[in-house]
């Protein structure tokens, strides 16, 4: 599990780390939205520069970013290959049955790859610099307008933060169960696919049973502590919007405007 970097939080105190999670979520949405407007060299250059700038401001080492991309390598490769072979139009370089490599196919493969990498990197930047809990808080706060239509925003946020809270607990438990099975002679990670699936089942079943028991216990504990309904509660944790948040938001809006202006160049 240790080399699984995607979606991890890297503790730090950089400029990006200190931004309000709401701001970071909005920046991320704006950026991802704008990526789909990019269509030529200049727009991609601008997006890349903004991304690199943000990465530098986040002070997260580049090799950690590269490690974060690695698990997605096959997905990227697959998408690119599909685009190259099935994208049609323009000059045909090579053809065999339904497969062909065309000029437009190559271009669109390049663009897709570029967009993919930009989107993955900006989301990775978000998770690297923002604690899961802060992200949950940010989502809750951004969804607040939905309360007007009686959408259970606070309940949803509590569910989210509870599940995040129990990820390490369940991971621990899985490790314990695996060790218990190992001590009975189960050999994980060897044998064929069938064999491996067979060894997974005796982990999942106790894990599920325990998780349900846990859920019952937690709901009792919550009720005993006066939890009635999720919506009418005061909040202990509070988010603070600072001028840095406004500045970065304005910066990203300007970037969005520039990308849309630069689109016209071709």
């Amino acid at each position: 599990m240790n080399n699984f970097m995607f979606g991890r939080y890297i503790p730090g105190n950089s400029w990006v780390h200190r931004l309000d999670p709401r701001a970071k979520l909005l920046l991320c949405f704006i950026y991802i939205g704008v990526v789909f407007f990019a269509n030529n060299f200049w727009t991609y250059l601008l997006l890349t520069v903004v991304l690199l700038g943000s990465i530098i401001l986040a002070a997260v080492p580049a090799r950690i970013f590269i490690r974060g991309l690695r698990p997605l390598f096959w997905l990227l490769l697959f998408t690119v290959v599909i685009q190259i072979f099935f994208g049609a139009g323009g000059h045909v370089y090579w053809q065999w049955g339904v497969f062909s490599i065309t000029h437009d196919g190559l271009v669109s493969a390049g663009l897709i790859l570029m967009r993919f990498v930009l989107i993955i990197l900006i989301s990775t930047l978000l998770t690297f610099t923002t604690q899961p809990l802060a992200i949950a808080d940010g989502i809750e706060s951004l969804l607040n307008p939905l309360r007007k239509v009686h959408f259970p925003v606070a309940t949803l946020a509590l569910m989210l933060s509870l599940s995040l809270r129990f990820v390490p607990t369940l991971m621990d438990e899985a490790t314990k169960i695996m060790n218990a099975q190992r001590s009975r002679g189960v050999d994980f990670g060897s044998g064929g696919l069938r064999q491996q699936i067979k060894t997974i089942v005796p982990i999942l079943i106790p894990l599920f049973v325990n998780a349900f028991q846990r859920a019952v216990d937690i709901s009792i504990a919550m009720e005993a502590r006066g939890y009635r309904d999720g919506e009418n509660r005061t909040k202990y944790r509070q988010l603070k919007w600072r001028s840095a948040d406004t500045i970065s938001l304005v910066g990203f809006v300007i970037m969005a405007g520039l990308v849309i202006a630069l689109r016209q160049l071709t």
Partner: protein, 277 residues
């Protein structure tokens, strides 16, 4: 007037044959410490859940601080009772220590300024203030139980119910938290109802109630109860070392005192008895 008054309480789980709590009657005076002991499955946790209205009794009544527990009054009753459960992980709801302590207050619509003050007070009381920003994954079981205690104390209950709150801790963590509870009880004049298998915890009590198959079979002071020696195991308590030793000495024909001695007083008695021989 008794702060907890239970009369003829009976509860049976839907799928089971016999009642888990069977015609139970008892009173607890304000400021008392009462221990409930009994073997596994004797109905202790069920009784605790009935007291805070998580389960609704089939028959019988519960009065907490003068209020009859009903479907309508259950939320008021929960204001007066704080409960700490057995499993440290399954009652830690907040994402960090401070958040968890605030949880009960958030439910009670306490304003943020007051919460900030009370979180600090409560964490200082249990000695966990330095850990306020820690996630539960980076705390020991004993520390998590302290946080649970702080979360309960932050809402200032009159009654503290401990359902085997120390049973998953090592001896050190156990005596630590017991000492904290003792101090808190004295300072705030709490009423404590502790469900336990642990002899040291039961020894703190003014009174011990023994429950078996859903019925109270005995009520005694710790002193009187511990004279039973190995019968204690049958009652659901772990026999203390000093009682084991006293019994072994008696078997060897040593004239040991008939009343219960804890480790300290047994040691005193031992070296004195040598001297006078």
């Amino acid at each position: 007037m008794a702060i907890i008054s239970v009369s003829n309480l009976t509860y049976q789980y839907a799928q089971s044959e016999a009642p888990a709590v069977n015609d139970v009657t008892f009173d607890v005076e304000a400021g008392d410490w009462v221990a409930i002991v009994g073997h596994n499955g004797s109905g202790k946790s069920t009784l605790a859940k009935l007291l805070i209205g998580i389960l609704a009794a089939d028959s019988g009544t519960i009065d907490i601080a003068g209020t009859r527990l009903t479907e309508a009054s259950v939320w008021d009753v929960r204001e007066t009772i704080g409960m700490v459960f057995q499993n440290p992980d399954n009652q830690f709801v907040g994402a960090t220590v401070a958040d968890d302590v605030a949880f009960g207050m958030e439910n009670r619509h306490v304003s943020r300024d007051v919460m900030i003050r009370r979180v600090k007070e409560a964490l200082l009381q249990v000695g966990m203030w330095e850990f306020r920003d820690r996630e539960p994954a980076r705390l020991s079981g004993g520390q998590k139980q302290r946080v649970a205690l702080a979360g309960v104390m932050a809402v200032a209950p009159k009654i503290l119910i401990l359902d085997e709150a120390t049973s998953m801790l090592d001896p050190e963590g156990r005596s630590d938290i017991l000492n904290t509870i003792k101090t808190l009880k004295q300072k705030l004049n709490l009423t404590v109802l502790s469900i336990t298998h642990d002899i040291d915890e039961a020894a703190q009590a003014d009174r011990i109630l023994v429950i078996d198959d859903g019925r109270f079979i005995e009520e005694a002071t710790p002193q009187a109860l511990f004279e039973h020696g190995s019968d204690l195991i049958a009652m659901g308590l772990d026999v203390p070392f000093s009682a084991k030793l006293t019994e072994l000495l008696a078997q060897r024909g040593v004239a040991v005192p008939a009343h219960y001695l804890d480790e300290g007083s047994l040691a005193d008695w031992l070296w004195k008895s040598r001297l006078t021989k």
